[in-house]
Symmetry: C2
Subunit: 499 residues, 2 copies
């Protein structure tokens, strides 16, 4: 038989891949693309401000220039980007400063480049980047992306004084402002829940600016890069670590390369697994490396991961932001962690509170967050939504008659997003299990409040009825005795003082 | 203020990206990874058989070798892979033969490499590929992936006679067979609905083999590569096309480069847009290229896209597979298209039929397909599920009391998957709109059947009651007249013959 169809083999660059499949990165259409552009720029800005150790002050301006064409402008007071890294940071997909093992908002080196790419393919305009580091003169770049080769094309670069450190990015793009505006503002509002110490100023089409945030003026300790947890050591990772230090002995290697392995743990692990602690790494063959990986991943006596690589919002910050934004009083807070999934440290915190806005839903309204970023799309398949639906909220009196809002925040050195658009979290068993117990704990706390409020409402009702009866009795008795009607209010008061 | 956190800028390869984020490609855990491995290998095999013009015969063997370690083996009778392309096809992410504009199961050059990567990082084993083209001697490769640099590492290659053209891939990996087996078999069963002419033979842990498919023995015409539709011409694509033929005039370029543009359409388009047909492409500046793209994308008089790049299952094939697999009779079929989203041709077909298995659901059970591939995960956020929930099925008497199954199949030169794992389709407005009208049409057809069946059930009931009454009347009349009870059956028959 003959070959019907000739096959042409070739490779494509990662920018070509995401150009062809931009819906995977959150750029399905002009509305979602505008949303994702603001989101990616704001997240980068927040990261840069925290790296600089400054309270984030971010200005966002969106201007409609023609039908469906918008100019997006986001400026921050962050670290700025060193001029030699500007072209690749903005003009190359999968290039960034955030591949280390600590909690960051951005992680892929993808989002901002996608926004620039979207601007370029819809309006043929370059991105303008003005950036300045402390104690230096800034620069102004105009650049395009060479999509086929995944590399920047710098159109121009010139010295430029921004008047202070930070970065300003300007993108002209097709964007449906009308359809995305509500979601955009909701995103910014919720960003201040996850980052209560940031201030956002937004101006849309020359209207009066809105400001958000500033609920706190203290910057949290920045998350620190940690050594990997031994349970994250798959063969690939282990091989790379061994290549860096082939002359170390097995024992030295374990102590130097992993967190939660000190001299004692190293010895007991190696003894338990019957391995020679003085063996040189360079002598391990493929099978032995695989065996070492397997042993590290399965050994149950390693301690829980360190938490200094994570940065949860915390009880005080979350409660302050929530009471400011949602006009509510009793906010219950709970957290679990640090724990690990596949060796990646994670921490989950949550807040639950009653709200006056009725939803008719049988469960609380869910607000999802990951690494201080609100997640607004693709809720249905997210692990947090699945768990929400599996909890019987009526047990805690939190059904449709008692509307409530549940906030969940996952912090991790690696958030298992289901797609590059970072909107939905995969169902990792450890995360599923722990968020379920977190939800139930929050439910119990608020459920008790609801019950107490109900019984105190019943008590007030009983007092009112008793008071009315007393008045009637007093009136009838007075009529019978033909005397003056006695005062009952003070009688009531004294009765309830005693009881 | 001082910079708190030093930033390290660097790039990562696409294989590194998907290694770090394997949940995006459908490799979240050992159960899903085994499912995705089989799926990707079977899809590649089906594509290769169709390219060879042969009826697909695919053998799948899964053997548990140790706890949680499985050997996966998939063999086909397809084209085989030319030896010079084997290393990169299997050892490089984003390398493949399927980037052209026609319907294919695989599209990203990602899936099989991810399966190999998963095998490598969980068991440290190479992939074994035996492949042979027609009229040649085959080869046997053993290779690993250099994840950091996204390139293959060939461990060995030797001449090898497979005994016939095709490809066999063997991967050793961590895999949870127990948890994935049901979904795996469901996937293979549904694959034969979408590809009724394939035969699949499956052997799990040396049990008796199961076979699926073979409902048809005719191979459909293979989808052909088409020129792009003018509405797909974004600036990036247009710029590349112009670079290939800078000496053409605008008019020649339009006629030669796009489908649905002949001499007449080219002239009327250029006249309407007030462009000089004899202008040389090389003289267009950036703004003019952007303007041309904008004009092509917005011009409403272009015809619908060609359908020869698409390959729907078709009414006969789908009905045959469904009646064989689901023990049902009346299968209603409908289709819409070819249409386009962002200039990408698409076609949607669907089938609806009643089933005896009760689900208690208010809508039909949905089976989703894209480019002849069953989609089994991440249903909730898929456009097909969203549309399903928006249709009021009770209007067609298809509520919880009349269980039914709805099959939907999207064919497109570019399926807008939400993530690289290809499980869920993004909500593209054109696809949403058309699938809704398709669902309603199918609902009306089956709804009429349900009504007819109900009224005929009522008629049978009425006849039965009338017959019983007639017998009683006959009996009483006979008693009154003291005569023999007359025969009523024939009377009934004659009454209904007349009416």
């Amino acid at each position: 038989m003959s070959v019907h169809t000739k096959r042409n083999y070739r490779g494509i660059s990662p920018s070509e891949f995401f150009y062809r499949n931009r819906q995977m990165a959150g750029f399905s259409n002009n509305a979602q693309a505008l949303f994702s552009t603001i989101r990616e720029l704001v997240e980068n800005s927040l990261d840069a401000c925290e790296d600089a150790g400054r309270l984030p002050e971010i200005e966002i301006i969106i201007n409609t220039t023609q039908t469906d064409v918008v100019d997006v402008y986001v400026a921050d007071n962050g670290t700025g980007v060193p001029p030699e890294h500007v072209p690749e940071s903005f003009g190359r997909v999968l290039y960034g400063s955030k591949y280390s093992s600590r909690q960051r908002r951005g992680t892929f080196g993808l989002g901002v480049t996608m926004a620039i790419l979207y601007g370029q393919i819809t309006t043929n305009s370059p991105v303008i980047v003005e950036t300045q580091e402390s104690h230096t003169i800034g620069n102004r770049f105009s650049l395009y992306i060479d999509v086929e080769h995944n590399r920047p094309i710098v159109e121009s670069v010139e010295a430029f004084d921004r008047g202070g450190p930070g970065t300003t990015v300007m993108i002209r793009m097709k964007g449906n402002l009308k359809r995305s505006q509500d979601k955009l503002l909701e995103y910014l509002r919720l960003t201040t829940v996850a980052t209560p110490y940031c201030r956002l100023k937004v101006t849309i089409d020359d209207a009066n600016p809105s400001t958000y945030g500033g609920f706190s003026t203290s910057l949290p300790d920045p998350p620190l890069v940690c050594k990997p947890h031994p349970r994250s050591a798959d063969v690939e990772m282990l091989r790379r670590m061994i290549e860096l230090n082939p002359q170390r002995t097995l024992r030295q290697f374990l102590i130097n390369s992993f967190q939660q392995i000190g001299t004692k743990t190293a010895s007991s692990f190696l003894q338990f697994k019957n391995m020679d602690p003085h063996r040189h790494l360079s002598t391990l063959n493929r099978d032995e490396t695989a065996h070492l990986s397997e042993s590290l991943r399965k050994y149950s006596a390693f301690k829980k991961p360190e938490s200094k690589c994570l940065s949860p919002i915390g009880k005080a910050g979350l409660q302050k932001a929530v009471t400011s934004l949602f006009e509510t009083q009793n906010v219950s807070y709970a957290s679990v962690g640090p724990l690990e999934w596949d060796g990646n440290p994670f921490f989950i915190e949550g807040a639950l509170f009653l709200t006056s806005s009725r939803s008719g839903s049988e469960h609380p309204q869910l607000l999802r967050f990951a690494n201080r970023v609100p997640l607004l799309y693709d809720a249905s398949d997210c692990v947090f939504t699945k768990v929400l639906k599996r909890v019987d909220w009526s047990r805690y009196d939190l059904g449709s008659k008692t509307p409530s809002i549940l906030i969940t925040h996952l912090c991790s050195t690696r958030v298992p997003y289901k797609a590059a658009g970072k909107q939905s979290i995969a169902s990792i068993p450890e995360i599923e299990l722990k968020s379920k117990s977190l939800y139930r704990g929050l439910g119990r706390t608020i459920g008790r409040l609801v019950k107490r409020a109900r019984s105190s409402a019943r008590e007030i009702q009983r007092k009112r009825e008793l008071s009315r009866s007393l008045q009637l009795i007093a009136k009838f008795s007075a009529e019978l005795a033909d005397s003056k009607v006695p005062e009952t209010v003070r009688l009531m008061e004294s009765m309830f003082e005693v009881s």
